[in-house]
Symmetry: C2
């Protein structure tokens, strides 16, 4: 059975303007690979409702899972929840269990519940909440879209909350051979090798360090024995 | 006149698997903002021809400029140039001026020109070469798509080569007010402020550091006097 597929949607003007460097894509990519879910595409869009809605609809239709990052805080530019509801033509309103979570959190910390904070309890009808052990305000899953915060520590906690609930295929494992030769010398035999092992993924990631040119050849698959066989062939092709 | 719009397409399995953390998006975002070009969307796709071709066609039709990163080296998984040609239904072959650049480079460095390296001289018909002062193998521009290398030092050099040739609008400038109050307290008046200055972009970027909660309020526009007026109003709303 092939692995489930996934896409990520990063929402935020601050990434596109260069003000903030996104950290969530790299984190999610690593966790999904470990879980045996194939991340096939990432999109970054601005805080613009038509752009968010169109991307959610397109990615939700094309992949098994969509993970979003950003735009679920209390300020006027936090429009993700409303856009997800609109994308699926679903009503959205303040939900009592989400409100109770927030109320208890603010009671504990002595902060005031106000209209802005109450926005974070707006959840599309039929969604499942995603636990936020860092700062309480929950994410949610609607259909195959998992909606999470943009703040990296909260995003990571929400990924840890949601991942075990998703059915992953066999985890992808990888083997790496470091070859100290230029990619131009490697490319011919490596192409033949990739054709011979068409069931595996073969990548070449060149490096240049301290005047040394080389490449890390990475072979990925879900069957360890098959990978080991491939690495034996690869090592014979490029002896140290 | 509104600023030109742009999208970026990052090509590479190594980003989606979490093996490599992309650095080029953040670099390009910053340079485009300085140049007065609005980066509206980024997509990351794998080394898969149909995915690359579909993304190029979609982004090229939707935005004034498309910048791609990755997949123009000598190995079998470097398929970007062929995909760009296919996206525009344009022939592609080894081009004599690109080949001459590479030949001179290999002659200088005492390396052998072979079939793999010659792949890097494959340029779609009608394209303009993009200078690569770092490692010679050129990028190219076909229609509104600028095709560049994935290695960050080379990508950055190519961006520096191409940007001055593009007509930018007025550069976006930004002003920031740091407010040491929780976003939930800020959100109400900030929303009113954003509505009052509808011609400017207003963002709230929360932070939590050493136990202090606050937010950087960032206002962007192309008119410095208008920005200064807005920041006066904002500072009065949130006195230190």
């Amino acid at each position: 059975m092939p692995n489930p597929t996934a896409a990520m949607l990063v929402i935020g003007d601050e990434i596109l303007s260069g003000r903030t460097r996104d950290a969530n894509m790299h984190h999610l990519a690593g966790r999904l690979t470990e879980a045996g879910i194939d991340l096939k595409e990432v999109r970054v869009v601005s805080d613009d409702a038509p752009a968010i809605i169109a991307a959610v609809q397109s990615l939700s239709a094309a992949y098994d899972h969509v993970f979003t990052s950003g735009g679920i805080g209390p300020t006027h530019d936090d429009i993700t929840a409303d856009c997800i509801a609109a994308a699926f033509d679903t009503p959205i309103d303040i939900r009592s269990d989400a409100r109770a979570l927030l109320q208890a959190h603010y009671d504990r910390s002595g902060q005031e519940m106000n209209a802005a904070r109450l926005r974070m309890a707006r959840i599309p009808q039929g969604a499942t909440l995603i636990d936020n052990p860092v700062s309480t305000a929950p994410g949610f899953t609607l259909q195959n879209v998992h909606v999470m915060a943009g703040v990296p520590s909260v995003f990571q906690a929400m990924v840890a909350s949601i991942l075990p609930t998703l059915t992953g295929g066999a985890p992808l494992i990888s083997r790496t051979l470091r070859v100290v030769r230029g990619e131009g010398d490697i490319a011919g035999p490596l192409g033949d090798f990739a054709a011979q092992f068409g069931d595996l993924s073969v990548g070449s990631y060149p490096f240049q360090k301290d005047g040394v040119y080389g490449s890390n050849l990475v072979v990925r698959g879900s069957d360890a024995a098959r990978l080991d066989a491939a690495m034996g062939v690869l090592a014979a092709l490029f002896p140290a």
